[in-house]
Amino acid sequence: MTDLTHIRNFAIVAHIDHGKSTLADRLMEHAGAVSKRELKAQMLDDMDLEREMGITIKANRCSMKYKFEGEEYLLNLLDTPGHVDFHYEVSRALTACEGVLLLVDAAQGVQAQTVANAYLAVEAATEIIPVINKIDLPGAHPEDCALELEHVLGIPADEAIFTSAKTGQGIDELFAAIIKRMPPPAPDPEDKLRALVYDAKNDVHRGVITHVRLFGGTMKRGDKMRFVAAGSERIVTEVGKFTPKPGAVDSLSAGDVGYVLASIKTIADVNIGDTITLAHNPTTRPLPGYQAPQQMVFCDFFPGPGTETPDLRDAFEKLWLNDSSFTYETTSSDALGIGFRCGFLGLLHMKIIQERLEREGDVNIVQTAPTVTYEVELKDGTVMHIESPSELPDLSVVADIREPICKASVIVPAAYIGDVLKISLERRGTHSKTEYLSPTRVMLNFEFPLGEIIYDYYDRLKSATKGYGTADYDVTGFRSDNLVKLDILVNAMPVDALSVIVHRDKAANRGRRLIQRLKKEISRHQFEIPLQAAIGGKIIARETIAAMRKDVTAKCYGGDISRKRKLLEKQKEGKKRMKQVGMVAIPQGAFMSILDPGD
């Protein structure tokens, strides 16, 4: 057992792609937690999808021992996701730490999520050590980065440590700083078990693995533990640490980060943020816990061809055992049948969940375009929240429609201010503040309707700034505006999944563009297909997809069979992403065409 003064709990936070996982790998390797041979790139990203996409989705952890000035320290490291969708994972991780490494790419400088994460760290009252990484890159300018940090966040530039996680340069200094500058866990005067549940994973063989950080007391195998909020009691069957593979230990004590097994069958039985204590000697001071992640983006998942609703439900249930960051509930669409309305933290999160469902659940999904939550006030004073335009009640009973508003900060090279203002104002943004981080880089603050930026603002920002712009946002509330519901009719049939809520001034234009996009997405059929956009029953735009007159392969003999079959297989695969609405097959792309706000 290590005494508290020799424990450091810290997280690495950074903007996406600034090298968190590589730095985590390098630290583990230096401390000898993993051998060079074991070290496949990005040790802590253990989900296939994380490795493939090169991003961290879930916060990950590793305990390592490090000898410093003749004494052995136990260092508990948490690697956190950098993408804005996973802020809540970062804030969770921070409550289990006393310090953070705020990592900045030496070539890219401070970015929007650097700032956002730094604020989270300040809120959690953790010690911040700025780390300027990738100093081996030709374009690196570490001193300037340190100055930016000082300017934006008030962290003295001379506190920054320069590293290259790739070459190992600066890693020893970093270890020294972690041990000297970060506080050890505070001793708990009460000395009763208080363990914060910061994550939980489902393991097929061992049941739920509950990830904990102990703030007081000790726990060991055989203890009768109690979840304070849930009130349930369990017998501890194993405690352990991640090094980085999970391994059993005799006991966990205050300051430790590790895991608990207690024959828990489903993740629904574990509340992230709950406090674990001992049943016979309970704490009276449970830890503050977390706010549940707030789903911001909603869309519907319908079973694609070859998948039935129960299959999709099974896939959801299976995935939910492992990841409760999304929500789902049964929904039905007049056009598309029975499906699931899902809530996500953002678009990347949505994409990841969809991929995991398809991969891990072996289902085909047809997905509708994501929308945001609207607040609707009815004439009788009732206020309701709708997650899809199709839920909007008849306008005769609606008094007001309010859309979610967010505050966004955008960091760009000063040369692109004009371009960024242009794309932002087009998205109904209001510009509130301009702050120079350095003579060449600037932070712009905006207020946006969330629905205007959630789909493609990042992409537009990236292309308007040659990839240098970054953005971060925070939802602040709802605001009333002149909003209407735009309906789309395909072959005279309203397709509820294609409806959108838009600002009245933009409706006609949007409707026209939308059906023009649809015209490109839907292939010709053997009959003519009218496409119409309507507001409250009034047609505002119309296009027609011409009928196909002839669709027949003239020659098909022995030498053609293989090639033709492969073509058919490809088309069959394509059809999996189509939804049959009446007589018309609507491809996945058509549902997404709603997203194009155009120029």
């Binding site: 992640p293 007159r549 027949v552 003239a554 020659k555 069979i561 069959k572 049959q580």
Partner: protein, 404 residues
């Protein structure tokens, strides 16, 4: 006949890769002859032929010699090649032996050689009876060559012959198409193949189309041509038995029926494709490489593919639906284990509602409108075709939302 073909009989496809010149629409493997020495290829061809035929554990009863243009062979070489074929298949009860020919490549001597050495059927690439259309297709012969070739073939005693025609050529009119059809029918062929022009990848016509040098036929006009052809030929006593093939009673091409009924066929020659049971293979598409491989390995197979049950079912659907007589549901069930009516219930309902197919208890077949939309029909059916799986339908209650 169906079962007879798929289970017991074997076709033999031979590919001769030389032509006088490459036609603008052709995507088969062929190269211009240009005075090349064909002897090394003939030798390799003979070795390939002997070993392929020896490998067969079933009786070959149809032969189809295509290309390229086999009749570009000089008479003596033609005799040698046919001699090889006759020797190799002497123990097999050949019911039909087709050779492909181009109008200007047949003379009396060659025709006599064909008959002497076992050929029973000639397929003549006439394509059109209008010079401007033949030029557009980059064909070498003239409209006059066609009746002359037919006269020679008939004089030699060949009664089974086919005329190939193409419609949907840029600049072609409905009237000119109908005239070509009438001129062909005057020659009393027992079999006609009428193809809509297809712009295949990599062909001269496709390049010209992409560059905007030529214009494709209007889709509606092409559809009109297809139906005009069907109606006219049916009035003349022909029966449409496949999307592009018409025959007088008793004159259907037995060899091609093997393809459409997913039977087995051996393959000989560069680029020839074969299928034996669940194995598909294709010879290398290069004459020199073919010769080298035959001489060193005894075969020149470049691609081999094992067809799984799902693929097999897809091929079955794709090919059998081309037959006007339709797809025999009981036969399909027997061959693939798939009850199509159950498996593709929704697609069948949609296609029936759209009047593209009719479905009775025993067969699924296309309507007149469906023939024009055959690819749509096949795609729709294929999209739902799936081997049966043990799918449970119990509905479980939705999980509550949130985690804290």
């Amino acid at each position: 006949m169906n079962k007879e073909i798929s289970d017991h009989n074997l076709g033999l496809y031979l590919h001769w890769p030389f032509c006088e010149s490459k036609c603008g629409y052709c995507d088969f493997y062929s190269v211009p002859l240009k005075g090349r020495d064909v002897a090394p290829l003939l030798d390799a061809f003979a070795i390939d032929l002997r070993s392929r035929v020896a490998e067969c554990d079933k009786q070959i009863d149809t032969i189809f010699w295509g290309g390229g243009t086999p009749t570009t062979l000089e008479d003596d070489n033609l005799s040698i090649a046919l001699g090889h074929i006759q020797n190799a298949t002497s123990n097999h009860p050949i019911r039909e032996f087709t050779i492909e020919a181009n109008p200007a490549t047949v003379d009396e001597r060659k025709a006599a050689t064909l008959v002497d050495l076992g050929v029973t059927r000639v397929s003549l690439g006439a394509q059109s009876f209008h010079q401007n259309e033949l030029s557009a297709l980059e064909r070498l012969h003239t409209p006059r060559d066609v009746p002359e070739a037919i006269r020679i073939i008939r004089a030699a005693g060949i009664t089974h012959y086919n005329i190939d025609l193409i419609f949907g050529i840029g600049g072609q009119t409905l009237a000119s198409w109908q005239e070509s059809l009438a001129r062909a029918v005057e020659l009393e062929p027992p079999h006609l193949a009428c193809y809509g022009l297809t712009y295949e990848h990599g062909t001269s016509l496709t390049k010209q189309l992409k560059l905007g040098h030529i214009e494709a036929c209007d889709e509606q006009l092409e559809a009109d041509m297809f139906l005009a052809c069907k109606d006219y030929l049916e009035r003349c006593g022909y029966e449409q038995y496949e999307l592009s093939n018409y025959a007088k009673p008793g004159h259907q091409c037995l060899h091609n029926l093997i393809y459409w009924k997913n039977g087995s066929y051996q393959a000989v020659g560069p680029s020839a494709a074969g299928c034996l049971g669940n194995i598909r293979f294709k010879n290398v598409s290069d004459i020199n490489e073919y010769i080298r491989l035959i001489n060193s390995n005894g075969h020149a197979i470049a691609d081999r593919e094992i067809i799984g049950e799902t693929e097999r079912a897809l091929e079955g659907l794709m090919m059998r639906m081309r037959l006007i007589d339709g797809l025999d549901l009981a036969d399909f069930l027997r061959c693939t284990g798939i009850n199509l009516i159950e498996n593709c219930r929704n697609a069948i309902a949609r296609l029936t509602d759209s009047e593209l197919i009719v479905c009775d208890e025993s067969k699924l077949r296309m309507t007149r409108r469906g023939l024009l939309m055959a690819d749509t029909v096949i795609r729709e059916l294929a999209s739902e075709l799936d081997p049966p799986s043990g799918m449970s339908l119990n509905v479980v209650a939705s999980r509550p939302i949130g985690d804290a």
